[in-house]
Amino acid sequence: MATDMEVTTVPQPRREQLTGWGRTAPSVAEVLRPRTRQEVAEAVAGAGARGVVARGLGRSYGDPAQNGGGRVLDLTSMDRILDVDLENGRAVVEPGVSLQQLMQAMLPFGYFVPVTPGTRYVTVGGAIACDIHGKSHHADGSFAQHVVSMDLLLADGSVRTLTPEAEPELFWATAGGMGLTGVVLQATLQMMPVETSRILVQTRRVANLDEAMEQMTATDADYRFSVASLDNLATGPALGRGWVESGNFATRDQLPPKLRATPLAFNPKPLATMPNVFPSGLLNKRTVRIMNEANFRRAPKAAHAHLATIGGFFHPLDAIHDWNRVYGAAGFLQYQFVVPFAATATLRRVVERVAVQGAPSFVTVLKRFGPASPGHLSFPTGGWTLTYDFPTGTPGLTGLLNWMDAQVLEAGGRLYLAKDSRMSAQDLAAMYPRLEAFRKVRAEVDPHGVFVSDQSRRLAL
């Protein structure tokens, strides 16, 4: 009888040029694609003088998932859902499992991911490394707060099982630790029970920034999901005009009869793929102004309720694969910061300066954060968070962002490492008071600096 022989081709490393989602600051690394724990361990052990870092689906905007002259482990092939506990709503997954995969697997059983950002195409490993957040942060916190346990491969090849109770220092250094403490080999997630796959959304136009803030402050407690989209070029009395969307997952009764038959249906279809032909500069002050006006007009003036799909409410840009190509070869950057609730003057000053300077932002989003997680380098903390997208060729952008850094720093706020591609090492240290504690943990578990990224070099993490 012939034995079952599986011919496994060991993936060969190749030198590849890598960037983040912003397609800026490329570097070349040897990329390996391990599929098992053993292969990951070998890849880490074999890392040379320039070290190694893990990479997921590459949705960070800057340089945390690349490592010039070194090794990068693309873990997207380690994408098995290992076990599910349907009674308690837990899933045990490999690090390369995407949120898209998890949604597709678990929605039929009435479970959604505990936190979703603006794209489904992030891996669980990346979600932990960046301690991501979504429209629900004020209610549900960040991703790592829903990780029950995780297995971490350390620089010396040993594997530790981390829980917040048993290993708080290493757990919370790894959550938001940008992959610099080791490689997550698997994680157990607490999923969110849902009755349906639709969100009942209230959309309301707001005439300016103050109204946006008032609206969210007044109603956030009643909605699990809430966010404001702003026209970043509007000035004067219309400064910060836009619309607020607040929502909750719909109950079965809230579904119209025709949807009740398949209440948990989830079938997001990408509409198209963006071709790689766009000249840089297509998104500029003129074109973005036109888009902003159209979007503002489309939002209903009076509060308006409608049922949205998961894709439509949470992940509108996922409808177009590779939408980042619209920025052309020059790429773009995302700038996201948070300032304490009391710092509304700073917020207003920043919004005004950007609008007056006319730096065009494709998507400008304002949200209220709840309290911070214990992650040493975790970004969300109580306050207002604002996100801008800027084409890199925007005139005067360096000066504008340096000024914004100073404003944020002075107000006691910080920038988000998953979005950052240009902040200074000094500002990073000043914005994250627990950086020293993080470095201490890293020195303990990785004394020779095996886990390294372009970002960690740039920011002296």
Binding site: R15, Q17, G22, T24, A25, P26, S27, V28, A29, R50, G62, D63, N67, G68, G69, G70, A330, G331, L333, T392, G393, L397, T398, L401, S421, R422, S424, D454, Q455, R457, R458
Partner: protein, 254 residues
């Protein structure tokens, strides 16, 4: 590391006491470049430049480097990359020489060419190898509009720049996909120590303008930068002039 807007953290200058070199280093030090190595022949001038840069908050080292001593380049430059990543290598050394003297004394001409071309070839190759190991970095080569077409009045210097220019472009092509980017900078006549006392050429520029061009080129990952930008069009015209016409035009420039 270079960031998404082209700011760099570390710089190695070959020819560290040239006016263009110092203007560029100063411009970068005012931004985020806080680790600088100035390499050159004149220790005092290098140290003076280093002091200025330290005033901008940069940590500056000076090291001896002789473009003519090609056999020393590997030894001298190699170790510099081991101390930490170098984001930009700026090749800013060059001698103008004296055209008349060069024509009379071939060995004087040889020195000009060996410095500007041969020394640049070896040091560029050493730098390129080191940058490839890093997986990232920019090599900025100061060429000249003279590289476009040699004139009777300066063909010894001009041809050395023409050689350097072609070499740098070819090197840039060979480095595609390695993470290393080569930027050739072609300034017109630059008012500097090197050209002191000479009649200004047309569309003359300054070391500071060249520095701005370099910073802007780094942000755009440009492969060819003209300073001033418009001189590109002037040279495009010059390139296509029939020989006798070109000779007359060149004559007028002196």
């Amino acid at each position: 590391m270079k960031d998404s807007l082209g700011s760099v953290q570390s710089l190695l200058v070959l020819g560290g006491s040239s006016d263009i070199a110092l203007a560029a280093a100063r411009r970068l030090a005012q931004d985020r470049t806080k680790r600088i190595i100035l390499a050159g022949r004149h220790a005092d001038a290098l140290e003076a430049g280093a002091e200025v840069l330290r005033g901008h908050g940069a940590d500056v080292r000076t090291v001896p480097f002789d473009a003519l001593d090609v056999e020393s380049h590997e030894k001298t430059l190699g170790p510099l990359f081991e101390e930490g990543d170098i984001d930009v290598v700026l090749l800013a050394f060059g001698v103008l020489g004296d055209q008349a003297e060069g024509e009379r004394d071939p060995l004087a001409a040889a020195k000009v060419v060996q410095t500007n071309y041969v020394g640049a070839v070896t040091s560029s190759l050493v730098a390129a190898e080191a940058l490839k190991k890093q997986g990232h970095g920019s090599l900025v080569v100061i060429s000249s509009v003279a590289a476009e077409r040699a004139r009777k009045a300066n063909f010894i210097y001009g041809s050395s720049k023409a050689g350097l220019d072609a070499f740098a472009q070819g090197l840039g092509d060979s480095l595609v996909g390695t993470g290393v980017h080569v930027m050739v900078v072609r300034p017109s006549f630059v008012e500097s120590k090197m050209t002191a006392g000479m009649a200004k050429g047309p569309m003359a520029t300054t070391p500071e303008a060249v520095a701005e061009g370099i910073v802007d080129g780094l942000r755009r990952n440009a492969e060819m930068v003209w300073v001033p930008a418009q001189v590109r069009y002037a040279m495009s015209a010059v390139r296509h002039l029939p020989r006798p016409v070109f000779r007359k035009v060149a004559e007028k420039q002196g």
